[in-house]
Subunit: 391 residues, 2 copies
């Protein structure tokens, strides 16, 4: 923040709100974070989703202002209240004083009260999670200089905290358990849907949440030649045949964080082409894991890894990246691709992968989740990385 | 579209893309829909998520243009290809001709080819699902008049198709099965988490997807006084006691559509206050169901329903709405609230509800999903609407 000359940051994208407050927002929410530690931070969030409901841990920010409209009766309790209930009463009481409909009015008010209306405010008006905060705040408070500081949030988030590593590690553990349990259930004639059911059910059993996209049944599972369809294919009634590949990519959610890993198996024995090609992507990923150290440059790792896969057995191998940062919201910088010159740092969390997709043949993948450390990668993934032959 | 004078619509919000193309978008996607039926529609979507992977039904739009970067080998197949595989090959081949990175370049190109660059184009630059399409497209093609037409999409979507009613109906069926199965598993000492597990597992068993928000374990379940926390509370280790309420609100996903219904139960017998208050909200909801007919005005229904709850037993009842439209993306217009003068139409899908929340006491709710019809509401919900006493 000092480097960028901002006096305060305002988080408003769901990921940045969750990251800075551990608050899971259901409507437009702002988290104000002043540079000066003597100035109190603040949250603006809808009264329909008050703090005791939507935080995973006790809120560290005391000044919470509510907007919108939602009625909870607070005057009739006959017994002493629990702490969460008292927080809810406070929320209702403070909201009733203003019944303000517009969160921007509350944010502007706080900035005035904090003496921040002549300063420079960084907002996360990002392309991926767009909002019109820069425009809207600029119009409301002409004396404030509002700048887009999405890169600054990403910079803060690029090295993971131990809590983040723990949550992603747990998502990985649950995902590996689901893959293992699903593989044990494999039988000829099983459909992709059957397999996805075992996968998702195991995730629930272990305390995770299955991942879906727009409410689709989205376990990232494909059999046979269908494994050439990328990792977003919905599971179908396709039945597993002897000689078919089984591929999964992705994973479950755990406390807001997801896993992103991949493994490939086959029902029966691999033929010569499959063995050769899997070995090639495996060797490529091995090199990526070896190179993932502080001081290495993303684009250089990319070039060497693609070269390794080509030499090791897939002469026509083409790829746009061989890994990416990972965290809240999914993909995080850096991208281990040809145009990203990020120098790796201790504590970055990376998913490394060398996928190969061929129509009429299938998709091969091994993807691991690691933390970059001086002494070599700290693996969050533990499941056997080889091509598994099921009988 | 004729009324609004637009020559074409461009859908870009995930809901509008899914609605107009049955395509489940994973990256920025545009669906161009010309007013003139002789002009061909088109889709612009990432090559990383090509059409055969991300549609639930065979695509009705033939002209699909891909941007981004993603490699799938297409030259090595030894056996005849399936239809999906051929579509994938075509996608890769057409993408390789341009390898365009920017979807806006492709959209502008299509508008030029279709002779639409001097027309008026409506985009869904909505507040709920914001994008900068209006600005971006306006800058790129100064001769086009780009207007925000989110309301037009909503107007098109406000009366549901039979396919939408079928999907929401199935989400409701699965949700009711989950609620029923969970109630059968109830025992004293059971935690909210245990109950939520049975609820979510039954949803998977029945072919639906549990709902989560930002990857949290979000089954909408609360026990006892915790039921006063609104329907977004995460399930906890709170243990069910005799005399506790059990409340759920929401439901599962099915093929992109969700359920939104609520029921309340109690372990044991209700006391006088609970009986009186539940009867009051029940009578209010009954009146809402009775009034939900073509020609009725949303704000008038709201006023009469709130009045009914007050008369029927909760003199201090306050509420900001007693129902809402429902469809893709969740809440749809109209809102059955004090400031919405929408006249109800045949085929609208509504969730009607009269929730009551009181700190130190609990939350009471009955919410039903219906289609507005001349002869009275067509119920998608079928589960017993009374306050259920469990022994």
């Amino acid at each position: 923040m000092v480097e960028n000359g901002v006096d305060a940051l305002v988080a408003s994208s769901p990921s940045n709100v969750l990251y800075t407050s551990d608050l899971c927002p259901y409507g437009r929410t702002f988290v104000l974070l002043p540079l000066d530690r003597d100035i109190e931070p603040a949250v603006v969030t809808p009264i329909s989703c008050p703090i005791p409901v939507t935080t995973m841990s006790p809120p560290w920010i005391g000044d919470v202002r509510y907007y919108g409209e939602f009625y909870t009766e607070t005057d009739w309790a006959e017994e002493p209240l629990e702490e969460d209930e008292r927080t809810l009463v406070q929320a209702q009481e403070s909201w009733r004083e203003t019944k303000e409909a517009d969160p921007l009015v509350l944010l502007a008010e706080i900035l005035e009260q904090r003496g921040l209306i002549k300063g420079k405010i960084g907002v996360d008006d990002a392309l991926n999670e767009p909002n019109q905060l820069q425009d809207q705040l600029g119009k409301r408070l002409p004396s404030v200089e509002v700048v887009v500081a999405s890169h600054l949030f990403m910079k803060i988030r690029i090295v993971k905290t131990e809590e983040e590593i723990t949550r992603i590690g747990e998502a990985v553990r649950i995902t590996e358990k689901a893959w293992g349990t699903s593989l044990e259930s494999v039988r000829k004639g099983m459909t992709e849907r059957d397999f996805a059911y075992v996968f998702n059910k195991t995730i629930l059993d272990e305390g995770g949440m299955p991942v879906s996209h727009m409410g689709m049944y989205g376990a990232p599972i494909a059999f046979g030649r269908r494994s050439a369809f990328v990792d977003l294919a919905l599971p179908t009634d396709y039945r597993l045949k002897r000689g078919d590949l089984l591929r999964f990519d992705g994973g479950c959610s755990y406390k807001g964080y997801k896993a992103d890993m991949a493994r490939t198996a086959i029902l029966g024995e691999p033929n010569e082409k499959l063995t050769k090609f899997y070995d090639a992507i495996f060797e490529g990923e091995e090199l990526a894991l070896e190179l993932a150290k502080p001081g290495e440059v993303a684009s250089e790792i990319f070039a060497r890894v693609v070269e390794r896969v080509i030499e090791a057995g897939i002469p026509h191998y083409k790829r746009h990246h061989v890994g990416h940062g990972w965290g809240l919201g999914g993909y995080n910088p850096p991208l281990i691709g040809p145009r990203d010159d990020t120098v790796l740092e201790e504590g970055m969390l990376l998913c490394l992968e060398t996928p190969y997709y061929e129509v009429g043949f299938g998709g091969l993948m091994v993807e691991d989740v690691i933390v970059v450390e001086e002494k070599g990668p700290r693996f969050l993934t533990r499941f056997n990385r080889k091509l598994l032959s099921l009988s």
